[in-house]
Symmetry: C2
Subunit: 306 residues, 2 copies
């Protein structure tokens, strides 16, 4: 399965000429998932030649403007360009009213079905799944309801050993049970241990998006071993108090979470506008978790390169 | 009095990498008036080095997204940057609810006073005035409630002739009556005709913004003799039917209005994305009204050069 992440914007709060606030596009096996949608996101997608009509699912982490003010424009452009296929939107309940009132004000009836899926406030659950991927929410800690998202490839626990399957004449309809770790019972009633017929599968490819949040190690268990963790680092460690006050994280916070969760790679972003020299944030983060990358607008990460 | 207009965006419907939908900044004697605010407007102002905290009055013509989707972002950035002074917003009533629900969703209490002035649906009136300028609405015809705006320098009808004032010993407190065209009565009861004491004043500087609308010559009287008329020309004349269907104007419509209203200069904009060669629109408009300019992003018009 191929996972690719494009950073459309990674600054915080205010859009400027060369810095867009949060938005990312995850392409998972050719399915396009948009994560957050700051003002200007649709133009960013044009800039990076992403066909935004291919997006079927949009996830909005929370209702601060730097994470969703571009959404109504995108919804509207999809309509003006004659979209017909469904669009699924996952966000906290007030966003439905905001969108509905804007469509009503312009007397617009969308020419495609828009399904609104309210994000839960207090529990974590699967938001979407098909046969290849599942997406669930991660409860974050940001003053207003805020949700991270975990995208996880669906992969069986065990991998079939074709040679052994033939040797023991295992019928095809039994394979799904073997993949789950079950043993096989022959017609004669003999038990063949799962370990003989299968091998351990690789870890599923996974991506955890965690922005915005203050340090909260309750999320460690949920994001354990993810291939890539995006974690906000609004501030450097010398502004730890400011980070706590504003429900944001520091470089060291993000690195500590990454280390505890034993993630493959850490990607940091959502930098405060005060930082002109981002290498300082990167170096500080690396002092705790070495395999860290700095999010940059337009950057594309192919998970197979991680 | 100095009037300067900056075109922040002048395309229609969908923002692209190099084309922003409608937004204009009118600077009238150092007061900043923002007219419409499409997505990306705050970044356009940064691009053209316009200090957006200087804007005290924002006028939104109608609630199609390409005229206001950037407003909540601008309001929000003004807040994040610590604005303290009042902001006055003139728009149709549903916009108040849209803004309020977005501020509520982010738990934001603005750090500056935002005054919402509902635009009238059925009558034309003065929306704002100070001692130098008055702004009124122009009822347009666009399917949903839509308003143009007329910005007009306040100028007395007659200009004082200082020499004659001295000669006839006219007291200072009488000057305002003379400026309005009244005659002067001396202590002896002698009537000195206004024509002796004053001369005709120049026309006031004025700017009429008319977007979006289908052809409607009811507006001619209202915008008579304005220095500059911005009138939308979404389509060329061969798409007249499409213009009528979508409540838009053609090049010839705009030129006809300009001609009937005997305006100084016509500025055309809000071009459909279908037109790559804008000179064709300009030439078609000029065939009816020669003193026409093509709106272009970043263009600045100094009214003293018209």
């Amino acid at each position: 399965m191929s996972f690719k992440l494009t950073i459309l914007g990674c600054s915080s709060a205010i859009p400027t000429v060369d810095k867009n606030p949060t938005s990312q596009l995850l392409s998972a096996n050719e399915s396009f998932f948009l994560i957050d949608c700051a003002e200007g996101t649709q133009v960013q997608m044009r800039r990076y030649r992403i066909k935004f009509q291919r997006i079927n699912h949009i996830f909005i982490s929370h209702l601060h403007g730097d994470h969703y003010f571009g959404l109504i424009g995108l919804i509207s452009s999809m309509h003006l360009l004659g979209r017909e296929k469904e669009l699924h939107l996952y966000a906290h309940p007030p966003l439905k009213e905001i969108i509905d009132s804007q469509l009503a004000a312009s007397n617009t009836e969308l020419c495609y079905p828009l399904f609104f899926h309210p994000l839960p406030y207090e529990n974590e659950q699967i938001l979407f799944e098909d046969n290849k991927i599942e997406v669930s929410n991660i409860l974050l800690d940001h003053g207003i309801p805020c949700s991270g998202f975990l995208f996880k490839e669906k992969l069986s626990l065990r991998k079939i050993n074709s040679e052994k399957i033939n040797e023991y004449n295992v019928p095809i309809d039994q394979l799904k049970f073997l993949k789950n770790g079950d043993d096989f019972i022959t017609i004669e009633g003999e038990k063949i241990s799962n370990e003989i017929l299968t091998t351990e599968n690789r870890l599923p490819i996974s991506y955890a998006f965690c922005s915005d949040t203050k340090y909260n190690d309750r999320i460690v268990e949920k994001i354990k071993n993810v291939s890539l963790l995006y974690h906000e680092t609004t501030f450097m460690e010398d502004r730890k108090e400011r980070a706590i006050e504003t429900f944001h994280s520091t470089t060291i916070d993000a690195a500590t979470i990454a280390k505890k969760a034993e993630v493959g790679t850490l990607l940091i972003g959502h930098f405060s506008q005060r930082y002109k020299e981002l290498d300082e944030l990167l170096n500080e983060t690396k002092s705790v978790f070495d395999n860290t990358k700095l999010a940059q607008q337009g950057m594309q990460i192919d998970f197979s390169d991680l």
